[in-house]
């Protein structure tokens, strides 16, 4: 039999995972989409024909509680009441939940159990060091609870991140965790067309019939073409978001992707009318709230060199600016590349992008490399976050160990169980609340509770209406007169 022609795929259908409620606003709106903004479109998302609705990343839990003052468990339940037929996805990063440190096994287990109980239908776990020991137990537990599982492989370019490396990890995920899907998670938007042509066949050969999902970001404008090529080579599911909350730093637009894949001869059975309605809703929300829409980005070759996520670049610039050292930005980027090499090629995603970026700033600013060492960098080289992918440069290892905090033990100790203590400490609380208390220090949970239940109604107003309401809300102006084309309103406060 002749080799299959990638331009004439035998398989004719491709499925879509929607990221509008998760990555689109994480990438474009700093994760600030409220539950009230989501609820009006949930019923439409339910019937569009998605394989899955991506919903809760790790940062979403954090932003819900700290900034939006929303109980994320309640958010999950409210959305699940409306998206009943499509599994909602929640993410697990390593075994550290919302932070960087390894957390007790029983806390991880309770978290997964509560995700399932509150309506999460698929759990996707990844470990940026691809140390699968960190994620296999959680994936196995999710499976036992009847939740679908997805094993994420975070992509980057480096001498250790070869096709063979990813293929072996994919195979191990299928063998050890029995995952339903394998995802290539290109958080940094680094996957190019040449690489996808070798990577997808390598993973396919390793995982047999297990579906492969492709997730990327349009940071250099290439992701739509990478998806297009990936689907030709056998990718089963693609992650897209609904324009105008697509492109830019977010995922490729569902609308364009459907058109492109249909032109290629694929079935993409999605309700395009409902998709347009969802897009229109978020366009109006963006307009009212002053939030940006996704704009396609131009090709940027430099992105592949520094591999830094967009948020990190802005942060580094700011740090240097405050020290009056903005002219040394290029030096810091070059230092990032050098540190990555010395620290055995960590992928530039949380928490490793912060580790590399911060160490680079210290190295440049202090004039002596590894003189100041963040605690997390020392923990990383000592294996606190999992086994580094290769040997750390021995000289650098010495400097990090001797200049880093003496309070960090040379060998990481597995944290002991914590759930029983939590139950004793908060006897009247639900397990959901106990997990909140465990994850958020100080009075953050109380402040969230004080803000009351989640708002479930999102109203659109005319600009004039909003101006008037905002002026009244400010209470500091006792006389307001507003005139505009036949409207003349005067408000006067009583004495």
């Amino acid at each position: 039999m002749a080799a299959p022609d990638p331009n004439k795929p035998s398989r004719r259908s491709v499925r879509f995972v929607d990221t509008t409620l998760r990555d689109a606003h994480q990438s474009l709106w700093a994760t600030r989409m409220t539950t009230a903004m989501m609820l009006p479109v949930c019923e439409r998302l339910n019937r569009i024909g998605y394989a899955c609705v991506d919903f809760m990343g790790l940062i979403h839990f954090d932003v819900c509680v700290r900034y939006l003052k929303e109980d994320h468990w309640e958010r999950i339940r409210l959305v699940r009441e409306r998206i009943t037929d499509v599994p909602l996805k929640s993410w697990l990063r390593s075994n550290s939940l919302l932070g960087f440190d390894v957390l007790p096994e029983d806390v991880n287990a309770l978290w997964v159990e509560r995700l399932a109980a509150n309506g999460i239908g698929i759990v996707c776990a990844f470990d940026a060091l691809a140390d699968l020991d960190n994620i296999v137990p959680n994936l196995q537990l999710a499976r036992r609870l009847g939740v679908k599982t997805c094993g994420g492989l975070v992509f980057c370019e480096s001498p250790v991140h070869t096709d063979a490396f990813f293929a072996a990890k994919a195979k191990e995920l299928v063998r050890r965790a029995g995952v339903d899907w394998i995802m290539i998670k290109d958080s940094g938007g680094l996957l190019g067309i040449d690489r996808v042509r070798t990577l997808i066949p390598a993973i396919r050969a390793a995982v047999g019939d297990t579906p492969i999902e492709l997730h990327s970001h349009c940071l250099t404008g290439l992701a739509p073409a990478v998806y297009h090529e990936g689907v030709k080579l056998g990718v089963d599911l693609v992650d897209t978001s609904i324009a105008p909350l697509a492109n830019g730093p977010a995922q490729p637009a569902t609308q364009t992707m459907v058109a492109n894949l249909r032109a290629l001869g694929f079935d993409a059975a999605l309700d395009m009318e409902a998709i347009e309605e969802v897009g229109e809703h978020f366009r109006r929300v963006a307009e009212q709230e002053g939030k940006p829409l996704g704009v396609p980005m131009a090709y940027d070759a430099f992105h592949y060199e520094h591999q830094l996520p967009g948020g990190m670049l802005t942060n580094l610039k700011y740090q240097l600016e405050t020290a009056g050292l903005q002219d040394r930005f290029d030096e810091v980027l070059a230092e990032c590349a050098r540190i990555r090499r010395e620290l055995a090629w960590p992928i530039m995603v949380t928490p490793f992008s912060q580790l590399v970026g911060t160490q680079a700033v210290f190295n440049v600013v202090n004039g002596e490399r590894y003189k100041v060492v963040p605690d997390e960098v020392k923990k990383y080289v000592l294996g606190y976050y999992g086994k580094p992918l290769a040997a750390v440069d021995p000289e650098v290892l010495d400097r990090v160990v001797s200049n880093g905090s003496a309070r960090i033990a040379m060998k990481p100790a597995a944290p002991g169980p914590a759930v029983d203590a939590l139950r004793r400490k908060y006897p009247g609380a639900s397990d959901e609340e106990r997990l909140l208390r465990f994850c958020f220090a100080g009075n953050q949970v109380d402040e969230m509770r004080a803000a009351g239940p989640i708002r479930t109604i999102y109203g659109f107003e005319q600009p004039l209406e909003r101006l008037l309401r905002e002026l009244v809300r400010r209470k500091s102006w006792h006389y307001v007169r507003l005139q505009d084309r036949g409207v003349d309103i005067t408000l006067r406060a009583g004495n």
């Binding site: 009056g324 605690d375 307001v480």
Partner: protein
């Protein structure tokens, strides 16, 4: 010309920047907004709201330089390695690493600086006695700001 949500945001920004003004009147085409802080007072026409300076970066850089205040003779200064948050204890509720008058060894942690969500343990650098703690717990500190003064041990 129709008022847009973008216009509303800009108008509200002008209004909020005018906290020191008594009265403000804004006219653009058919649109006219007139606000007064008090109901019936003399008219004092508002001047334009202040425009935020474009040279914020330069101002911050200058600020960073002034952070490098003189250090009293004989003292060793512990400085912030980067803009960040200063913490005196390993975690909330725990005892501070050091207090004034306490003797420390060079390799001992005296405080933490949180930079970009990472915690940096700052060592004393010299054997000596804590003479002064100059930053408040959980305060934002500038690059190079003096945080702690240590009186080194006489050799």
């Amino acid at each position: 010309m129709e008022l847009t949500h973008d216009d509303v945001r800009q108008i509200l920004k002008i209004i909020d920047d005018a906290a020191h003004l008594e009265e403000l009147e804004l006219v653009h085409g058919d649109f006219r907004l007139h606000v007064r802080r008090h109901g019936a007072v003399e008219r004092a026409m508002a001047s334009a709201a202040p425009v935020p300076g474009p040279a914020q970066a330069a101002a911050r850089a200058a600020q960073a330089k002034t952070a490098a205040a003189p250090v009293p003779g004989g003292m060793v200064a512990i400085r912030a390695p980067m803009l960040g948050t200063f913490y005196r204890a390993p975690s909330p509720g725990e005892k501070p690493f050091v207090e004034v008058g306490q003797k420390v060894k060079a390799g001992e942690t005296v405080c933490l600086i949180e930079v970009m969500k990472l915690f940096n343990s700052i060592n004393a650098g010299v054997d000596g006695t804590i003479a002064q703690i100059l930053a408040d717990n959980a305060a934002l500190v500038e690059y190079n700001q003096v945080l702690i003064l240590i009186e080194p041990e006489q050799k």
